[in-house]
């Protein structure tokens, strides 16, 4: 029996449209955009760690607009309660019963701004929703939006008064991204365009929600040849024996790597993974799941050191050819 053939060229064409749409707004960040699309396809959530004002919100919003999805933004503060995110049951006088009033979580693209500024209690409420795709309030289960994707942001430098996410919760994010400063020419274009609020930037939808769900359905079918799978596993195993790291990548991490590589292959118009897809996905998928033994001055430096070690592992392990 023939396996289901993935319409890889069609998938690529659709995602290229989204990509083109976003890159009209976010200048010079093709790699970040590609990874965001990987996250979207894989149905994962993104942790964006960078300084404020580099276009994280705009990116999330333009993605939501491009795929015709709802967008919500929550500014996480220390006094934010879980109910402020999830929602709350209020008593309806007319119906004489408690009615669940949905919070901003019930959307498709949620921007959780400065997630480390809120208390662990609120963080875990959000993370539970991220993990399961549903929330339970007063014994009732409520489905969040479909597709559902969280863009959580963190300021990597300013740590004062924050509640850093524990390792177990970092593991829930499929990818960790950094926006980085735009280069000279791109920033010049941004400046020439003039200041606009992110929600004022005109972005037309190029995909429907249903199409996005269909594309997400193909990811699991992307073929992974055994030697590529072995390569992937060798990388994961290497993180477990590397002296630099306190602990290696968990099995959830290796599953995430495979899913991200599958999504990456699909984004590149293929129905199968190549070792290069795996190698490309290793830093964004694994870096935030690893902690260094030696101390670093800040989160950015720590991540750079982790990434350097990962690149060394990639350099050491030959790709199957």
């Amino acid at each position: 029996m023939k396996a289901n053939v993935i319409p890889a060229p069609r998938v690529k064409a659709a995602l290229d449209r989204v990509r083109a749409n976003i890159t009209q707004v976010i200048k010079g960040k093709e790699e970040v955009v590609e990874r965001v699309l990987v996250g979207l396809l894989a149905g994962g959530h993104l942790l964006m760690e960078d300084l404020p004002g580099l276009g994280k919100t705009t990116l999330a919003y333009s993605l939501a607009r491009s795929i015709d999805c709802d967008f919500a933004r929550v500014q996480f503060t220390s006094d934010l309660l879980p109910s402020d995110v999830i929602g709350v049951s209020v008593y309806d006088e007319r119906q004489r019963e408690f009615v669940f009033k949905r919070g901003p979580l019930f959307t498709n693209i949620l921007l959780a701004d400065e997630i480390n500024r809120t208390t662990p209690k609120t963080q875990s409420a959000l993370l539970e929703a991220m993990d399961r795709g549903k929330v339970s309030v007063d014994g009732q289960t409520h489905e969040v939006g479909e597709p559902f994707m969280v863009f959580a942001t963190q300021n990597p430098v300013d740590y004062e008064g924050t509640f850093p996410l524990p390792e177990s919760q970092m593991d829930r994010f499929l990818l960790r991204l950094e926006m980085g400063y735009p280069d000279f020419q791109d920033e010049m274009t941004i400046l020439q365009r003039g200041f606009q609020h992110y929600d004022a930037i005109p972005t037309e939808p190029v995909l429907t929600r249903e199409e996005v769900l269909e594309l997400q359905g193909y990811v699991g079918q992307v073929y992974c040849e055994p030697t590529v799978l072995e390569y992937m596993l060798r990388i994961v195993t290497a993180t477990r024996t590397e002296a630099e790291f306190r602990a290696g990548v968990s099995t959830r991490g290796s599953i995430a790597l495979k899913t991200a590589a599958q999504a990456c292959a699909l984004l590149r118009g293929r129905g199968f993974i190549t070792p290069q897809d795996v190698a490309d996905m290793v830093p964004p998928v694994l870096a935030h799941r690893l902690t260094l033994r030696r101390p670093a001055t800040d989160s950015l430096e720590a991540h750079r050191l982790v990434e350097a070690s990962l690149y060394q592992i990639l350099d050491r392990l030959p790709q199957p050819v």
């Binding site: 396996a3 073929y223 055994p226 030697t227 072995e230 129905g271 199968f272 190549t274 070792p275 199957p320």
Partner: protein, 741 residues
């Protein structure tokens, strides 16, 4: 975990371990040759080799040796070397080799960096070449065969490790990580049957090419070109030198080592080989020696060929046989000659002396390595050595005078009539001669036969002889004859000489070898030291010097049959394992070491002849086949013929299909093995690697082909495109034209 042909990552520690392993191997291979040099370094080499082997297996042990040991080793070594040179007093070669040997052992044991690795390579190469050139042994060939790939691999490894400039050489961590198991795993990972097959093919290809070059190159002898090849000499074995006392020759009889190998140019062993080496004319009382006047007849000359002019036979090249001799070094400076010959040829020019009266040849010094020479126009059966005209006249004149010597120091050939001065001995000799002659006037031949019979009467052969003391003479030979006891060749020969001289027949002792073993594998004579023998030559005025061997038959250790003295010492056929191993050495001598221009020409001639025979033979076969086809066709078609043809075709088809099915089943089985990469995936991988650096004329086409190849390599088999087409397209990709700017 088994991986399907991955590109294993070459880590610096693996290179370190490989360098250590290869360096140790090189040292071990080179040190083996020192054993055969005989420079008295055997125990040191053995100890060094054991230490190197231990260091190879447990490299971390070497690391544990405190650094002061290495620091102290250098001055100690310098003192040792200097002392060795001083004590050697003029002999340069032996201390030089010992020095190189010690340095090699030291370098092989020490922790090495790039410089030391290269030093070890040079030192071991020097050892291999020096020992090889000096000994010319078969081990040299084996050493070269093993050393060359190891050294090349070592150079390659050293070169590769140059890329790891950022790695700390000699970092203690590398030693702590030093384990052979990961290296073995790595080697297993990189070794692929195809690579092994190709390497084997490459090795044999190179060996074949080297053989072709060896055969076709103009001949030269590098052994003689190197100065140290001439430096080494040896004193030779007692018993085969100018002076023989009783027991010297017998001492050799327990020695089973090889002395001489002779290629007789036929598959039939020669019947009575007596290998003459020395003529001893002067009686000393304790034995016989070559008199000063006989020795003065040797004339030295630098030559590559020597022709025995004068009274020798077989002057015509067409007569006689051609025998090639491989005379082991360290035996004697006298060359074994089995009879009269026309010409002697040497492989290289060397200093040689010939004594016409004795018909013996000698070199200036005893050679330390194997000496090759060839005798042409040889008559190995000759019992008679013609005497020189002057020698003959002189002896006849001497005999006319009643054999009485005219002067105190008569000189050769008068020495061949010299008798003991001891009155008791003389009286006994006269008595025995009278007993032999029994009042008759006997000719030399008859007298010698009777004297031999007289000596052999009631006696046998014995190597352990305790001659009883006697008050009537000090002469050992006379006391032995009187005692009527068994004896060995020297006693028999000595006694016969004294009896002959007493009877007025000039006689002299000849030492050399008698008999030999016939190697059943390579058909040549093997003469060992235990074949050393002494016999007699007496003067017959009508013939010359006639050989007589009074020693009765004896059973030699290792011989299968009793040797018959009367018919000469017969050759014993040897087909033991030792003989087989020895035959390998002869192959080495014949085909490699003594491969000269004449053999080269002969081989080319044979090749041309055999090529010339193939052509007509093939043409003949082809014509015959064509004729049978024509005949078959001209007979006309019939159902029977067609049926037979169809049956043949059907059988061929069935066999072909069967083989194909078997092949496919085997391929399928191989491909389905777990962890084994499908051949098409592997092939696509190879093509992908090639395309990486391929600058195609049409980049779009290249992109399309690459996508297809990626699908074959990493994609689902169910969605594979037509593979042959993709590979064909990959093959047909055209490279971009180079810019002419």
């Amino acid at each position: 975990m088994s991986t399907a042909n991955p590109q294993a990552k070459l880590e610096y520690r693996f290179l370190q371990q490989l360098k250590w392993l290869l360096g140790g191997l090189m040292a071990l291979i080179s040190l083996v040759g020192v054993f055969s040099l005989g420079i008295g370094a055997g125990p040191v080499v053995a100890l060094g080799m054991v230490c190197i082997s231990i260091g190879l297996v447990w490299p971390r042990l070497v690391r544990r040796i405190p650094s002061w040991v290495w620091k102290a080793a250098t001055p100690i070594l310098i003192i040792l070397i200097v002392t060795d040179f001083v004590l050697a007093a003029g002999d340069i070669l032996s201390p030089l080799v010992r020095m190189i040997m010690l340095l090699t052992i030291l370098r092989a044991l020490q922790e090495r960096r790039r410089r030391e690795d290269l030093q070890l390579l040079l030192l071991s190469l020097f050892l291999v070449i020096v020992t090889g050139v000096l000994t010319m042994e078969l081990t040299f060939a084996l050493q070269l065969l093993l050393y060359t790939p190891v050294a090349l691999f070592q150079l390659f490894t050293i070169n590769l490790s140059e890329n790891y400039v950022d790695e700390q050489e000699g970092d203690p961590e590398h030693w702590q990580l030093f384990r052979w198991r990961p290296l073995g795993g790595f080697l297993r990972q990189i070794l692929h049957p195809r690579m092994l097959g190709l390497s084997t093919l490459l090795f044999f290809g190179l060996a074949g090419m080297a053989s072709l070059i060896f055969i076709s190159l103009p001949r030269f002898d590098f052994g003689q070109q190197l100065p140290f090849a001439r430096l080494s000499t040896s004193s030779g074995a007692p018993g085969l030198s100018e002076e023989v006392t009783y027991g010297d020759v017998v001492d050799l009889l327990d020695d089973d080592t090889m002395a001489l190998r002779v290629d007789v140019g036929s598959d039939i062993p020669p019947s009575s080989p007596y290998w003459r080496m020395l003529v001893l004319d002067e009686f000393t009382g304790e034995g016989f020696r070559a008199s000063r006047s006989l020795q003065s007849t040797f004339r030295y000359d630098e030559l590559t060929r020597f022709s025995a002019e004068g009274s020798y036979r077989n002057r015509d090249r067409g007569e006689g046989q051609t025998w090639t001799f491989y005379f082991e070094g360290g035996i004697s400076r006298y060359l074994p000659i089995p009879g009269s010959f026309h010409e002697l040829r040497l492989q290289n020019e060397m200093t040689l002396a010939y004594s016409y009266p004795g018909r013996t040849l000698r070199t200036q010094e005893t050679q330390n390595n194997v000496l090759f020479y060839r005798l042409e126009g040889l008559d190995p059966t000759a019992r008679v050595i013609p005497a020189m005209r002057r020698e003959s006249e002189w002896l006849q004149q001497l005999l006319k005078n009643g054999g009485e010597l005219q002067t105190e120091d008569p000189g050769y050939p008068a020495t061949t009539l010299e008798l003991p001065a001891d009155a008791g001995a003389r009286a006994a000799l006269q008595r025995w001669v009278a007993e032999i002659e029994q009042g008759q006037a006997l000719g030399p031949n008859t007298f010698i036969s009777r004297a031999t019979a007289f000596l052999q009467r009631d006696r046998g052969y014995s190597m352990q002889v305790q001659i009883p003391d006697a008050d009537w003479t000090e002469n050992r030979i006379c006391r032995w004859v009187q005692a009527g006891m068994a004896g060995h060749c020297e006693l028999y020969a000595g006694a016969l000489i004294l009896l002959a001289r007493e009877a007025g027949i000039p006689a002299r002792m000849v030492t050399g070898f008698a008999g030999g073993d016939w190697n059943a594998y390579e058909q040549y004579m093997m003469v060992r030291n235990r074949h050393a023998h002494a016999w007699v030559e007496f003067f017959d005025p009508e013939a010359g010097w006639v050989r007589a061997d009074p020693t009765p038959a004896r059973v030699l250790p290792g011989d299968n049959q009793q040797q018959s003295e009367q018919n000469g010492r017969e050759s014993v056929i040897d087909d033991t394992l030792n003989a087989y191993l020895d035959s390998l050495r002869v192959l080495w001598y014949r085909r490699v070491v003594s491969f000269d221009r004449s053999q080269q020409q002969e081989m080319l001639k044979e090749l041309r002849e055999s090529m010339g025979q193939w052509g007509p033979h093939l043409r003949e076969r082809l014509n015959a086949w064509m004729q049978s086809v024509r005949g078959w066709w001209s007979e006309g078609l019939s159902w029977g013929k067609l049926g037979r043809l169809a049956a043949k075709l059907a059988i061929t088809l069935v066999i072909w299909l069967g083989l194909r099915l078997l092949w496919q089943a085997w391929r399928r089985r191989q491909n389905n093995k777990p962890g084994r990469l499908h051949p098409d995936r592997r092939r696509a991988g190879v093509w992908l690697r090639r395309l990486e650096a391929f600058n195609a004329a049409d980049p779009d086409e290249r992109g399309r082909v690459k996508a297809q190849l990626l699908l074959i390599r990493y994609g689902d088999m169910e969605q594979w495109p037509e593979r042959k087409t993709v590979f064909r397209q990959a093959r047909r990709l055209k490279p971009a034209k180079r810019s002419t700017v």
